[in-house]
Symmetry: C2
């Protein structure tokens, strides 16, 4: 068990589940906070703002400032800002995505935007898909906040943003740049934000196919917790292993 200088934490399945926090996760983050060890929450969720996430965590007893949250929407905005491409976007997505792009002076444009940015949109229509496809065919760069195929809801597994993106890929023949986990983009941004070397930080998550893979691809150490999507047993069968496998955060000594 190494000592790390900074921690990146997934949310759902790692810190809470179905809105209920894991007591050991609450204690873990409180300890990080007390010891002044930097940490960031890194989530594929594109529909809510860092402020909303921070408020929710604080309410659950998990200390968190707005600046300690990196959503896939915020990461998409940063990705766009770093590029010398027309700073406008046709957006498929909900308020969390639209707000953050606006806040970064990336204006909405339908006809000839620099980017098409696609996030989960529960108000998706054919017209929106059509506008996105036409803009991509006209030369817009195609970004997608994440490739999650499904969205777990009370009714079951609803279509995730990966499904919306697949429709656009089929109609345009273009694959998007995926911002969220398991791609490395968001982890690399988190590393810059936390201002530490890759070797000094570790990513904690429950989902092998998003969290752990993202860490592996970004070249960051990983800790798998057995409190969410992928079980420790399932992880043991994977070709590339996380750096550590633990049952829950109570096992990790700071």
């Amino acid at each position: 068990m190494r000592k790390y200088k900074g921690y990146l934490l997934d949310l759902d399945g790692t810190v809470y589940k179905g809105g209920k926090p894991f007591p050991e996760a609450v204690e873990f983050v409180q300890t990080l906070n007390k010891l002044s060890i930097p940490y960031l929450f890194v989530t594929n969720n594109s529909t809510t703002s860092p402020g909303n996430v921070a408020a929710r965590l604080t309410k659950l007893g998990i200390p968190c400032e707005n600046s300690q949250v990196l959503t896939s929407s915020l990461a998409a905005a940063s990705y766009i800002k770093e590029r010398s491409v027309k700073q406008s976007a046709y957006i498929i997505g909900e308020e969390g995505l639209k707000e953050i792009l606006e806040k970064h002076d990336i204006r909405e444009e339908e006809e000839e935007p620099g980017f098409v940015v696609v996030g989960l949109d529960r108000s998706l229509t054919y017209k929106k898909l059509e506008k996105a496809c036409l803009a991509i065919r006209a030369g817009a760069h195609f970004l997608s906040t994440n490739q999650d195929a499904v969205l777990p809801t009370e009714q079951g597994l609803s279509p995730g943003n990966g499904a919306i993106s697949a429709a656009i890929t089929t109609a345009t023949g273009k694959n998007p740049v995926f911002i969220g986990k398991p791609e490395s983009i968001m982890i690399e941004q988190a590393q810059k934000k936390i201002n530490l070397e890759k070797e000094e930080i570790v990513l904690i998550g429950d989902n092998y196919d998003t969290d752990i893979l993202a860490g592996i691809r970004a070249g960051v150490d990983t800790i798998h917790v057995n409190t969410g999507v992928t079980t420790t047993k399932e992880v043991s069968d994977k070709e590339i292993q996380p750096t550590y496998k633990i049952s829950s955060l109570s096992e990790w000594l700071l």
Copy 2:
């Protein structure tokens, strides 16, 4: 040049283009009609009814009864009727699809339908995608009228039914049974409908990747016309060749 007892004809790019009929196609079908040689129009279009197609063709001077049109919607209805599965469907699609399923006593059902049938739907919403995915996960058979990735419109290339189907495939992990060309299902149904042996009929079309491939897969002879999507030159580069390649229907002697 063989004499065939029956003809299957594609519509767009074969008989007309952009609403304008090819004079040689008008003459060709008029001759078929005069000689009492059976013929059927076979179209991937799922949004309109055989009656509407027949009325449009008649108006263009192309003799056509309702019973001489096989749309992918009608073929989907026949496919369902032939199966001993609950005769109900959750439908993503436009009036042409809904009408034809209703006419075949396949009732609309959201919760536990026997089938999910997906056709082009320019009023698609997230809710519709969600209902389709939940029904498929609950065990419904997944049918799609066709896999056309794009829909040519005045604005450019809009998303086709293949794009809508891809979203559902991504969210459910299930591939649909595609009814339309280039799959063989619709051609096999056309053969039964025209009531001739496979060896006695020929399929005429302009699009190698839909029309000609469908004929090849169904084991029916094919005639490629150079009046639409795929050029004769492009067809010449394909590994499996159509039975005949002609410039236009004026070259084919009945």
